[in-house]
């Protein structure tokens, strides 16, 4: 069965794209060939005075090119051919003798947008699901079917760069204002409006579009040069030189504007092929597949029970964490939330934190004022357990102490119904120990969010040995409704994220003690690809929290995570990190203002820091400490698979995505090489670098994690 059907409405031909057996339309070679054939037939039909292209899917236009076809290509030539064929088809579309109107409802991204750009008139619905974008850079490539050439010509250089270099989606209203679509209509009349436009265009020439942007910056050669050089500078700064695709996209756009579309397209295809061959693109595509896979993972082996539907959430503790959970649940999952804390002042502070997050979204216009008001009305607070009886899920974010947590667990069980799931947002306490206080341990689970909850994309779900599968799938499904990427991890100290962070942080302490400057530590890891270095991370997490986590980790893992420096001394000196404006860095008005030089003497670093400068060994020691621990965590079953570990590290601590996660990074290095390096480090710096058993085993078998 074909993906296209043609209907005639008077002298307008309506081509409906409806890929059989798929929930969304994807553009593949096969679809393209069918399209070309259809268009040839229409070209021959003298009765056809205009064409409308529309999707047969209820909620989507074209979600892009078929990525499986993209992955199947192996050589640069194959990729170039893929791009050139797409371009040639779209050239033919653009040169079609009668006008083509495209009717857009739902996602119109990647190849979908490129097709629309080649058509002569774009009608879109004003529906929130209608979004337009060129997300190619997110998988390490560039728009290769004319996007780098047609988009800047249609909407102007600066808006086009903004779309292509970031990969962000544009809502329909904004797309209309930008000139990316020509008409904005209500969803029910999309087809008839497109037909009307087609009939109109069949009779008259297409009105010339107003050139977009300013003459100076977007159209003069001088201005363009300036814009492009500025954009290059900014992109290099933002990507740290690790991501070549945005730079290549910039070059494709610049080349096309300077040398005309014809040569521009050839160059675009070349750059597309080059990017597609990079390791970075491979890693990003792998992450895309892994994350997509993870989204379908119920959290327990099949057959998985159905998750309990959560409509009402109770949150204990209205602090920063509790309020973050509350607002994210209301905002993303749309559930009714009741927060409880000990006194009205704390509840008020929590509600303020909730209102601030919503207010920020309204300010950024990602929510209307009315939508914001509705989300805000979902969250309420009090000082007692009234409003908890009907809660389907209660998440506690109270003080990190096992007795306190057990007490609230008992209280919650006394006031809720038997089916209610109790989740603890602990970062250090074993779920099993909390669940000891429970009458129904099968409904007790860990949900470890990261702060700030509304921004951090990862959630660790931690079942204890007694947790029922239904509870696990419920926590996983609700975490996803909250917009989180969820990994299920074992109830072991530190779970996964803090587990791999512990030796990394400890190693940073060793390096600091040995005389490496704080700035150099951070700079080395940012250069390696982390968003922030270990010392900045420490300040963000909070030194008091780090002390607590560190204690638990040392108790569990022993010698290899024994700190070289005393964070307790820093805490005693009144330094808690960013939250109180004093950490290893100084803060002025909430902004980082350089290293606090006194820190070295508080920590007893001889010579005051900065006496050792060896960034190669800094990077190697820090990264291998983390990678080695990840391998240990995998062999102990803390994570279910290397996939979960990779995604967890990327989404949880910003592990460099272009490295694909700890296990992809180890694979890239090779188990043998990793073991050799670790053994060398162990000989030089101590047993803490002893290679993980699984790594040694892989090295012996010359095998890989993936």
């Amino acid at each position: 069965m074909g993906a296209l059907s043609v209907a005639r409405e008077g002298d307008v031909a309506v081509v409906t794209f409806d890929l059989p057996g798929e929930s969304v339309n994807k553009f593949s070679r096969k679809v393209k060939d069918e399209f070309a054939k259809t268009m040839t037939a229409l070209r021959a039909d003298q009765g056809v005075k205009a064409v409308v292209i529309i999707s047969g899917k209820p909620d989507g236009f074209i979600a892009g090119a078929d990525i499986t076809e993209f992955v199947a290509a192996k050589t640069e030539d194959e990729f170039r051919k893929l791009a050139r064929e797409g371009q040639q088809f779209l050239d033919a579309l653009e040169a079609f003798p009668v006008p083509i109107v495209v009717a857009i409802h739902g996602a119109c991204v990647g190849g979908g947008l490129e097709i629309s750009l080649a058509c002569h008139w774009r009608v879109a619905t004003n529906h929130p699901k209608t979004i337009l974008g060129q997300p190619e850079v997110q998988i390490g490539i560039i728009p290769g079917a004319g996007g780098c050439n047609r988009l800047p010509r249609l909407i102007g250089l600066r808006p086009a760069l903004d779309m292509i270099l970031t990969g962000k989606n544009i809502r329909a209203e904004k797309a209309f204002r930008m000139g990316l679509v020509d008409e904005l209509v209500a969803p029910p009349i999309l087809r008839s409006a497109a037909l009307a436009a087609a009939a109109r265009l069949a009779r008259q020439v297409i009105p010339p579009r107003r050139p977009r942007g300013s003459w100076l910056l977007d159209r003069s050669a001088l201005g363009r040069g300036f814009v492009i050089s500025q954009a290059r500078k900014m992109t290099v700064g933002k990507t740290g030189g690790h991501y070549p695709a945005p730079i290549a996209a910039l070059e494709a756009v610049a080349y096309g504007l300077a040398h005309g579309t014809k040569r521009g397209l050839v160059h675009e295809a070349d750059l597309f092929a080059q990017m597609a061959m990079t390791d970075v693109s491979r890693r990003l595509v792998e992450i895309f597949f892994a994350a997509t896979n993870l989204k379908k993972d119920a959290g327990v082996p099949a057959p998985a029970p159905d998750p309990r539907r959560i409509e009402r959430l109770g949150v204990l503790g209205a602090g920063f964490m509790g309020a973050g959970i509350a607002v994210t649940a209301a905002d993303q999952a749309g559930v009714s939330v009741r927060m409880k804390d000990a006194d009205l002042t704390r509840v008020g502070k929590g509600l303020k934190a909730v209102a601030d997050v919503i207010g920020e979204r309204v300010k950024r216009r990602s929510l209307t004022r009315l939508e914001g008001g509705k989300k805000l009305a979902l969250v309420s607070g009090g000082v007692d357990y009234r409003g908890f009886l009907r809660a389907d899920l209660v998440i506690e974010a109270v003080f990190e102490d096992v007795e306190v947590k057990r007490n609230v667990l008992r209280e919650v069980e006394a006031v809720t119904c038997p089916g209610t799931v109790f989740a603890s947002n602990t970062s250090t306490i074993p779920i099993a120990r909390i669940a000891e206080a429970s009458q129904r341990p099968e409904a007790v689970i860990g949900m470890h969010f990261f702060s700030p909850v509304h921004r951090m994309p990862l959630l660790e779900v931690i079942p204890s040995a007694k947790t029922a599968p239904e509870t696990i799938v419920t926590a996983v499904a609700f975490g996803r409704r909250m917009g989180k990427t969820v990994i299920v991890v074992k109830d072991r100290p530190g779970f996964f994220i803090n587990r791999i962070l512990a030796p990394y942080m400890v190693e940073a302490g060793h390096l600091l003690k040995e005389g490496v400057a704080i700035e150099d530590l951070d700079r080395a890891m940012v250069r390696w690809g982390f968003p922030v270095g270990p010392v900045t991370l420490l300040d963000e997490v909070g030194l008091d929290v780090a002390v607590k986590v560190g204690g638990v980790m040392r108790e569990a893992l022993g010698e290899r995570v024994t700190p070289a420096i005393s964070l307790e001394a820093l805490v005693a000196s009144g330094r808690l990190g960013r939250k109180n404006g004093r950490g290893l860095f100084r803060y002025e008005k909430g902004k980082k203002a350089g290293v606090d030089p006194e820190v070295y003497s508080v920590l007893g670093v001889p010579g005051g820091g900065g006496t050792v400068k060896d960034t190669v060994s800094v990077t190697e020691r820090l990264s291998l400490a983390m990678l080695n621990e990840a391998a240990r965590a995998l062999e102990e079953g803390v994570i279910r698979s290397p996939r979960d570990g990779d995604i967890g590290a990327i989404f949880g601590i910003g592990f460099p995505p272009f490295r694909g996660g700890p296990f992809r990074a180890l694979d890239a290095l090779g188990a043998g090489a990793a073991v050799a390096k670790l053994e060398l480090l162990a000989a030089r710096h101590g047993d803490r670098f002893a290679p993980a058993g699984s790594l040694v085993d892989l090295a012996k078998r010359n095998a890989r994690f993936h």
Binding site: L344, V347, G348, K352, G359, K374, A377, R390
Partner: protein, 431 residues
């Protein structure tokens, strides 16, 4: 009623925002948001499944032009399904009493099993209008076809047209203000300044005691004041438990500065607040395992000529409601009277007790009865607590029902006077 006309209606619970003097803590909160807060907290406190609510009825005396049907805004709270019909009504100061009465009727008729009734008022946020002439100019200008014409029309505006019109608390039919009416009643009924001030003091002391021992605050859902949420109002802010007769005596009368007796203290203040009450058929409450606070036994409404004694409505409504209940004032173990003015409450009590009034106005041989001061407004009333017009009835009903349960008494009476010479009365029964 009382089980003879249909199903018995239970009062399950009530809850309200703190009442704040207009222009203070709640001055930036809209009446809609106050109403939503009271309704949502009532849901929380009763742990009711929001899907069970079949109708929402709210009273408001001075509605916002932007959200004239406040009840529908309440029933569109995200906690509710979207399909709960809702309407708002205006029976002046008895509006939320009327909302409760309407809810009662709907349940009795079998049209609903669960009704959320209440009322709200934001007297800090009354609509300020343009003059009629300026409004006409604006309407005409908006229809003009060209900028020139529009400017021409706008140019007709005169400075006096720009003077805003604020709603006055006065009778549209007589032009008499509420205060003037109270003043007239004090004089005609011989209510002294001392008696009014004593009654005022009593109101504040009762409310202060109820606040201190938590009986009153138990009915209040603390309000976190946005956008800073630093101020949390958990009790009514107009109660002055420490005021003395001497202080009250020093205040100048407002409406008749020479011979008058009605002061700012012995009248209820302009107030912001909202209240909500959950009503249910007896069977439904039983099926859900909820223990009602009380049941509605009867109610009645009456009206008098606003040109005579404007706030005398209760003197007519109360005997009617008692008659419908088949009871007498003696049977009432607790009485809650809305205190618009001390002079008004005392005038009404005087009428209840007067043989002449009974004979001449009610056509009865015997007076309605004595009001026992020990069982009247036991936690103070509107003078101390405040009077957000649309919300007071919900407050009084909740307080009476809670106190009836606390004391385990069988009957209680509500009386409320309202603009337009109207009066409202309701009899509650415990079992």
């Amino acid at each position: 009623m009382s089980g003879t006309n249909g199903r018995r209606v239970a009062i399950i619970a009530g809850c309200r925002t703190p009442f704040a003097k207009a222009g203070t803590a709640l001055k930036d909160v809209s009446a809609v948001d106050l109403a939503k807060h009271a309704a949502r907290e009532l849901l929380v406190r009763t742990e009711l499944d929001p899907k069970l609510v079949e109708q929402v009825i709210f009273g408001q005396v001075i509605p916002s032009v932007l959200a004239p049907n406040v009840a529908r805004e309440v029933s569109l709270l995200p906690q509710f399904p979207k399909n709960i019909p809702a309407y708002s009504l205006n029976r002046a100061c008895a509006s939320s009493n009327q909302a409760i009465a309407d809810g009662h009727d709907q349940i009795t008729l079998g049209h609903a099993d669960v009704v959320l009734a209440g009322g709200t008022e934001a007297l800090s946020d009354v609509p300020i209008l343009h003059s009629r002439r300026f409004a006409a100019i604006l309407v005409e200008a908006s229809k003009a076809r060209s900028l020139g014409k529009r400017l021409g029309i706008l140019a007709r505006t005169r400075p006096r047209d720009l003077v805003p019109v604020t709603p006055a608390i006065a009778e549209p039919s007589t032009g008499e203000s509420m205060g003037q009416a109270a003043e007239k009643m004090a004089k005609e009924n011989g209510i002294t300044r001392e008696a009014q001030d004593e009654f005022t003091l009593r109101s504040h002391r009762g409310a202060a005691a109820g606040t201190k021992d938590g009986r009153l605050t138990a009915e209040i859902a603390p309000f976190f004041v946005p956008p800073r949420y630093e101020e949390t109002l958990a009790s009514d802010n107009g109660i002055r438990g420490d005021s003395t007769l001497e202080q009250l005596a020093q205040l100048k009368p407002v409406f008749d500065r020479r011979y008058g007796s009605v002061t700012a203290a012995n009248a209820s203040p302009l107030t912001d607040g909202a209240s909500a009450v959950l009503l249910m058929s007896e069977e439904k409450a039983h099926a859900l395992g909820l223990e009602p606070l009380a049941f509605i036994r009867s109610y009645a409404v009456a009206a008098v000529d606003p040109g005579e004694q404007l706030l005398m409505g209760p003197a007519f409504a109360v005997p009617k409601a008692l008659e419908r209940a088949g009871l007498t004032l003696k049977d009432m173990a607790l009485v809650e009277m809305h205190e618009a003015f001390a002079a008004q409450v005392l005038s009404n009590i005087q009428a209840f007790e007067s043989k002449t009034f009974a004979r001449e106005k009610l056509g009865r041989s015997e007076p309605v009865g004595q009001v026992d001061r020990d069982t009247l407004n036991v936690m103070g009333g509107s003078i101390a607590i405040g009077h957000p017009f649309g919300a007071t009835g919900g407050r009084i009903t909740t307080t009476l029902a809670n106190e009836m349960k606390r004391r385990d008494v069988q009957f209680g009476l509500i009386s409320v006077c309202a603009q337009g010479g109207m009066g409202f009365a309701m009899v509650l029964e415990r079992r």
